[in-house]
C-alpha cells in the first residue's frame, strides 16, 4: 500500500523529467518506492520489533498486526478512504500473441520483475556475506553474535529488503488493477503470508511456488462457478497442503533436538 501510494504521489513529479508512460519513469519510480519502503521497514523494525526480540512469538505476531492496522488506517486518514486511479506507468498492449494465448506488456513486466527480484534475492541470500549472516542469525542468533555478526544490522537489513520488495509488489499490483485505496494491502498481505507458509517458511523458492500455486488456483476458481468462494480458496489450498506436508511444500521438517 505504501509502495503503491508513494508511486501514485511521486509519478507526477517524475513526469516532469521523464515521459509517463515510459520504462524510464517506471524504473525511477520503482527505485524510489524501494528506498522509501526500505526506510519505513527499518524504522518499524527498530521501534516495534527489536524491543520484542526475546518475547514469545505470539506477542510479535500481534504487534505486527498492530503495525499493519496502524499503517492502513493512518493511510486512510492521510490519503482519504476513496480509491484513486493509479497512473499508467507503462502502456499496456499485447506483447506476445500466439493462438488464443495473449500476454500483455504489463503481465510480462510483472513476471519479469518478479523473476529478476527472486534471482537477486536468492543471490543475496546464498552468495553474499550478508546473506550468510542472515541465515546464521536465523539459525542461531547467539552463536552468530559470537562469530562477530552484527545481529541488529542484519535484521534491519532483512526488514529493509523485505519491505522494499513488498513496496515493489504494491506497485506491480497497482499496475495490474489500477484502483488503489489505503486498505488495499490487507488481503494481498494475508495471501502473501499464506503463500510463504505454503511453500515452507524460510524457503525462498518455496514462497514463489506457493505464490504461483495460490494465484493460479484463485484465477481458476474466479473463472469457475465457485467464484464467490475465491477468498476462501487460498486458505482451503493451504490447509489441504499442510495436511499432507506439515512443513509446507518445500519446507523441511524442523526436528527438535531432544
Amino acid at each position: 500500500m505504501v509502495g503503491a501510494f508513494f508511486a501514485f504521489y511521486c509519478a507526477p513529479i517524475v513526469a516532469k523529467v521523464l515521459p509517463i508512460p515510459g520504462i524510464g519513469a517506471f524504473l525511477v519510480i520503482i527505485l524510489g518506492v524501494m528506498i522509501v519502503c526500505a526506510i519505513l521497514g527499518i524504522i518499524i523494525e527498530y521501534l516495534a520489533y527489536r524491543p520484542l526480540r526475546a518475547r514469545p512469538k505470539l506477542v510479535v505476531l500481534i504487534t505486527a498486526i498492530g503495525v499493519s492496522l496502524f499503517l492502513e488506517y493512518s493511510g486512510q486518514w492521510i490519503f482519504g478512504p476513496d480509491p484513486k486511479a493509479f497512473p499508467e506507468l507503462i502502456t499496456d498492449r499485447p506483447l506476445i500473441e500466439w493462438h488464443t494465448l495473449s500476454i500483455s506488456v504489463n503481465q510480462s513486466l510483472i513476471l519479469g520483475v518478479t523473476f529478476l527480484l527472486l534471482v537477486g534475492l536468492c543471490y543475496i541470500v546464498k552468495r553474499t556475506r550478508i546473506g550468510i549472516a542472515m541465515r546464521a542469525v536465523s539459525n542461531n542468533p547467539q552463536a552468530a553474535a559470537l562469530m562477530g555478526i552484527n545481529v541488529d544490522m542484519v535484521i534491519s537489513f532483512t526488514f529493509g529488503l523485505g519491505s522494499a520488495l513488498a513496496g515493489v509488489g504494491g506497485v506491480l499490483y497497482a499496475l495490474y488493477s489500477p484502483s488503489i485505496d489505503p486498505l488495499m494491502g490487507i488481503l494481498p498481505g494475508l495471501k502473501a503470508f499464506v503463500a510463504a507458509v505454503l511453500g515452507g517458511i524460510g524457503n525462498l523458492p518455496g514462497a514463489v511456488v506457493g505464490g504461483f500455486l495460490l494465484g493460479t488456483t484463485e484465477t481458476y476458481v474466479s473463472a469457475s462457478s465457485l467464484s464467490t468462494y475465491r477468498d476462501a480458496i487460498a486458505f482451503a489450498v493451504l490447509i489441504v497442503i499442510l495436511l499432507f506436508k506439515p512443513s509446507g511444500i518445500l519446507g523441511k521438517a524442523e526436528v527438535e533436538k531432544v
Binding site: 516495534a48 524491543p51 520484542l52 518475547r55 514469545p56 512469538k57 505470539l58 506477542v59 510479535v60 505476531l61 500481534i62 504487534t63 498486526i65 498492530g66 503495525v67 499493519s68 492496522l69 496502524f70 488506517y73 493512518s74 486512510q76 486518514w77 494475508l190 503470508f193 499464506v194 507458509v197 517458511i201 464467490t228 468462494y229 477468498d231 476462501a232 487460498a234 486458505f235 482451503a236 493451504l238 490447509i239 499442510l242 495436511l243 506439515p246 512443513s247 509446507g248 524442523e254 527438535e256 531432544v258
Partner: protein, 336 residues
C-alpha cells in the same frame, strides 16, 4: 477461584437474576453495553482455554462464534413454530427454546471445533495460527454464500431472547467450567502442553488429546456466545465475524495475561468499554486556560482504529505479559 467455587458460581447466577429483575430501571444503553461485556467475557474465557492455558495459537475464534450464532438462530427461527406451542407458548416455553437453541449452537460449534482441531493441532505454532485464521475465513465465506442463512444480506428475524440474566449466568458458568477444569491435577496437563510438549509426553500426557479437548470446549463456549449475540442483535452478518473480530478476542486474552482468567475477564470488560469511552471522549471539549476557547476532541471518532492499533502496539511493547499479571514474588529457595 479459591475456596468454594461452586458457591461463587451460584452466587453469581443469583446476583445476575436479581439484577435482571431491575433491568427495566436501567438505562437501555447501559444494559446493551453490559450484555456486550458478558458476551465478550464468554468469548475471551473460551479463547483463554485454547490460547492462554494450552498455548495453541488460534486466530479463528470469530469463526466459531459465527457457527454457533447461525446455528442457534436457525434453530430458534425454524423450530419455534413447533416447540413453543408444544410447551404452552408462555415465558417458560420461550426460555426453554432459547436454552436448547444455545446448547444446539454450542454443540454444532464443538463438532466444527473437532473437525478443525484434529488435523490442525499436529502443526507447529505459526502454521497453526495461519490455519486457524484460514478456517475462520472459510467459515465466513461459506456463510456468505449460503442462501438459507441469508448469504451476504445477513440473517434477520432472530427473536430477542438474550438478557442480562442469561448473559451473565453463562459468563459465570463458562469461567467456572474452564477454571475448575484447569485447576486440578487433570488440568495441569493443559499447562504442561503449553510449557513443553516433549516433556509432557514424557510424563504420559497425550498432548494431542489435550489440545483437541481445549479446542472443542473453547469452540463450544464460543458457539454459545455466538448464540447469545444472535438473539441480542437479532441480526447476523458474516462480515462481522472475520479476521479482525478474531484478533479483537485474541487481544483480550493477551491483555489479560495468557492463562490468567481474572485478568482476561477484566481485559474483556475494558476492551468492550473502550470504544464507548472513545465515543464519549470525542464529544468533549478541553477548555484552554486563560481563554474562552477549547480544543474539540471530535477527531477521536475518525481515528478510532488508529488509536486501537497504537494501543495494541504500545501494550505489546510495554506490558506483553498483560495488564493484570503480577509476578507474586515467591520466596526463592536460595533466599534471593
Amino acid at each position: 477461584m479459591s475456596t468454594r467455587p461452586k458457591l461463587l458460581l451460584l452466587a453469581a447466577i443469583i446476583a445476575s437474576f436479581v439484577i435482571s429483575l431491575f433491568s427495566s430501571h436501567i438505562n437501555p444503553y447501559y444494559l446493551d453495553v453490559l450484555v456486550g461485556i458478558g458476551i465478550n467475557i464468554v468469548l475471551a474465557a473460551s479463547l483463554n482455554l485454547i490460547n492462554g492455558y494450552t498455548g495453541q495459537f488460534s486466530l479463528g475464534h470469530a469463526g466459531f462464534m459465527a457457527v454457533g450464532g447461525y446455528s442457534a438462530a436457525m434453530f430458534s427461527i425454524h423450530c419455534s413454530g413447533k416447540i413453543l406451542p408444544a410447551l404452552g407458548g408462555g415465558l417458560f416455553a420461550s426460555q426453554a427454546l432459547f436454552v436448547v437453541a444455545l446448547i444446539a449452537g454450542g454443540l454444532v460449534t464443538a463438532l466444527v471445533g473437532l473437525i478443525v482441531g484434529a488435523p490442525s493441532l499436529r502443526l507447529r505454532g505459526d502454521y497453526l495460527a495461519i490455519v486457524t485464521l484460514g478456517f475462520g475465513e472459510i467459515i465466513r465465506v461459506i456463510l456468505q454464500n449460503t442462501e438459507a442463512v441469508g448469504a451476504s444480506r445477513g440473517l434477520t428475524g432472530i427473536p430477542l431472547y438474550t438478557n442480562f440474566f442469561w448473559t451473565f449466568s453463562i459468563a459465570a458458568l463458562a469461567i467456572y467450567v474452564i477454571t475448575s477444569m484447569v485447576h486440578s491435577t487433570h488440568g495441569r496437563g493443559f499447562l504442561a502442553v503449553r510449557d513443553d510438549e516433549i516433556a509432557a509426553e514424557a510424563v504420559g500426557i497425550n498432548t494431542t488429546r489435550y489440545k483437541v479437548t481445549a479446542f472443542v470446549i473453547g469452540a463450544f463456549f464460543a458457539g454459545v456466545a455466538g448464540g447469545l449475540y444472535a438473539h441480542f442483535k437479532q441480526y447476523l452478518n458474516p462480515d462481522g465475524f472475520g479476521f479482525m473480530a478474531s484478533i479483537e478476542i485474541v487481544v483480550m486474552v493477551i491483555l489479560g495475561g495468557m492463562g490468567n482468567m481474572a485478568g482476561v475477564t477484566a481485559a474483556a470488560i475494558l476492551l468492550t468499554l473502550l470504544p464507548e469511552f472513545l465515543r464519549v471522549l470525542s464529544g468533549w471539549h478541553i477548555p484552554l486556560p486563560f481563554t474562552d476557547a477549547s480544543i474539540s476532541l471530535k477527531w477521536i471518532a475518525g481515528t478510532r482504529m488508529i488509536l486501537y492499533s497504537l494501543l495494541l502496539i504500545l501494550i505489546m511493547l510495554l506490558r506483553p505479559q498483560g495488564l493484570f499479571t503480577w509476578k507474586i514474588k515467591k520466596k526463592s529457595p536460595s533466599g534471593k
